[in-house]
């Protein structure tokens, strides 16, 4: 296997809140190979988005990285100063956010917003940037680029705005695209269009994508490898086929069970995961999922399960992984 494009080791992120410190990301390690698409799946509060924003220095003011490394192009992203990070953001790593309605500056023409990044990174001259912007608009499927260049965001539909956001993110041909719930705010038919666009772009540009999503359906159909997060920790990670065939963490299995798919089986019995995910106000010493886990044992309440490697690059953080796997198999 080739060298990873990005390698994250033991990342920790905390947030300072009025009621104490929230431990949002705890010892998260993962890597992504060039051209690979990784899906990071989890519910709100799982730390999936926080972990990736932390790498780019895009945490809210009350958040800070308290440990770990993130190797990218020979440098540790977490050790770079603001200037160096600004150079990498948008040029080597692009980001697409969830809400295209709020993500664009309402008083700036969309063409200018796309050009802005290229000019800032001295990626292109004014003239080149203008031409490239027109090309980009066409590439992301916006008809009549010269006219649309002059439009303001309020003149676009939600789907079209997300296309603009994508054009902005890929303008400088980054090697890595981080897509943070890029389709969550969109209608289902528009979601398909956006995913098709991202699919086309990654094939044509051989770009790595980290897809952050709460939707297992999106992750499993779009990604080569899945990372499941809960309570600021990675619960399970495996290449797609292994993940689909042998899901081994009780949380993953519960997530599969939570998919409200319109299947035609007659078994209508739903088995919800009980309880809710709570923010971690103390550094976790035990499995964060244990309180909601149907398989939890006394050990799970006291001892933190480590991420262990099984066959087929399958990593699981569960004391009872072996039992789950043998039962499923």
């Amino acid at each position: 296997m080739s060298d990873p494009l990005l390698k994250v080791e033991n990342l920790r992120v905390e947030f300072q809140r009025s009621d104490g410190i929230v431990y949002a990301v705890n010892d998260v390690s993962f890597s992504i190979a060039p051209g690979e698409t990784v899906g990071v799946v989890g519910e709100s509060g799982s730390g999936k988005s926080t972990a990736l924003m932390a790498l780019l220095g895009l945490l809210d003011a009350n958040g800070r990285v308290t440990g770990g490394h993130a190797w990218f192009q020979g440098a540790d992203l977490l050790k770079l100063n603001r200037h160096q990070l600004e150079d990498i953001r948008g040029r080597d790593i692009g980001v697409v956010f969830q809400d295209p309605m709020l993500g664009l500056n309402p008083t700036m023409r969309i063409g200018d917003q796309i050009m802005e990044g290229m000019l800032e990174h001295h990626y292109a001259s004014m003239k080149q940037a203008f031409q490239r912007t027109l090309d980009l608009l066409a590439e992301v499927g916006i008809p009549d680029p010269p006219a649309r260049f002059r439009n303001y965001p309020f003149e676009f539909s939600g789907g079209m705005r997300q296309r603009v956001m994508i054009a902005m993110a890929i303008a400088c041909e980054p090697q890595l695209l981080i897509a943070d719930e890029p389709t969550t705010a969109l209608d289902v038919t528009v979601q398909m269009q956006i995913l098709a666009l991202l699919d086309k772009l990654r094939r044509e540009r051989r770009m790595s994508i980290i897809m952050i999503t709460h939707d297992l359906g999106v992750a499993t159909n779009f990604c080569d490898r899945i990372i499941v997060m809960y309570g600021g920790k990675i619960m399970e990670t495996a290449p797609l086929d292994e993940f689909l065939h042998n899901p081994a963490h009780p949380y993953t299995i519960a997530l599969f069970g939570s998919m409200l798919e319109p299947d035609d089986s007659e078994d209508w019995e739903l088995h919800p995961i009980p309880g809710t995910a709570e923010p971690l106000l103390e550094f976790p010493q035990a499995c964060p999922f244990a309180p909601r886990c149907s398989m939890a044992q006394p050990r799970c309440q006291t001892e933190m399960p480590q991420l262990r490697l099984f066959e087929n690059e399958h990593w699981i953080a569960c004391h009872r992984a072996e039992e789950v796997m043998s039962r499923a198999g």
């Binding site: 956010f97 993500g103 664009l104 500056n105 309402p106 008083t107 802005e116 800032e120 990174h121 303001y152």
Partner: protein, 321 residues
Amino acid sequence: MNLALFIGKRLLTILITVVAILAISFIMMRFAPGGFFNSATIASGLGTLALQNPHLYQEYLQMFEKQYGLNQPLWRQTLTYVWHSLTFNFGTSFENPSVPIITQLKTALPISALLAGGSIVLALLIGIPLGVIAAVKRNTWIDSVLTTLSMTGQAIPSYVLGVIAVLLFGVWISGILPVNGWGTPADAVLPIVCLSAGNIGVITRYMRSSLVEGLRQEYIRTAEAKGIRYWHIIWRHGIRNSLTALITVVGPTFAFTVVGTVWVENIFSIPGLGTLLANAFTSDDIPLAITSVYILSLMVMLMNLIVDITYSLLDPRVKLR
């Protein structure tokens, strides 16, 4: 085209407003205790002249009766008055019947306009940078000092600042800046500073809150993710939007400033419209009082129109009504 229609509409609104104000003022003054607009009041207004030059006195009296149609029914009088005012045919004041009001306005108006305009420009020049600093350094001691200072500027009216300035520069450290009269550029310094304090406060605080709010928007994160430099983000995605929004507070600020001009002129004995207005009201010189109110209001409304037009040109989302 659209813009022309908008301006036309607004000018019409201003016209209607002005007519309403003139008519209401006239009628109210007409029925005020003592009934100003009758021969008797005018006679008393001209008081001393009756003794000094009875002939001229009679002449003036007839002139006023003709100007205001005092023998006609009220509605005719009102219409006549409104029409005269709209056509800038103000006649002469009671106190100073030999000088037409328009001549007095011609010297007074530029002074007031200079004070008001100068104070707004000064307030923008100081208020905007202070607001930006407070927003960028939000929740630090710099922010709280600036916020407290701007609150102070906002709270203390220009006439209090004015008398304090007179005390300061007239008694304690006299000789540096003049505190009385009008003529040299130095005379304008203290009035303009006192006038702008309130506006500096308003602008600083508005700029701060609008920029803090702006920097909290999602699109700031988008810009950060594009790798835009910090200060470029502050400028392009923060300050520019806030400046556009700032225009909306300049409108009310202008009304406030024009009133402040009246106060400050009186404190510093500056022969502007404000002093004219104050003298007119205190000496029951009704023609001059209404006229100065009319001119000052007109100034404010036209400024607001300009502000609205500018705003609509700057913010693409604003549709002209």
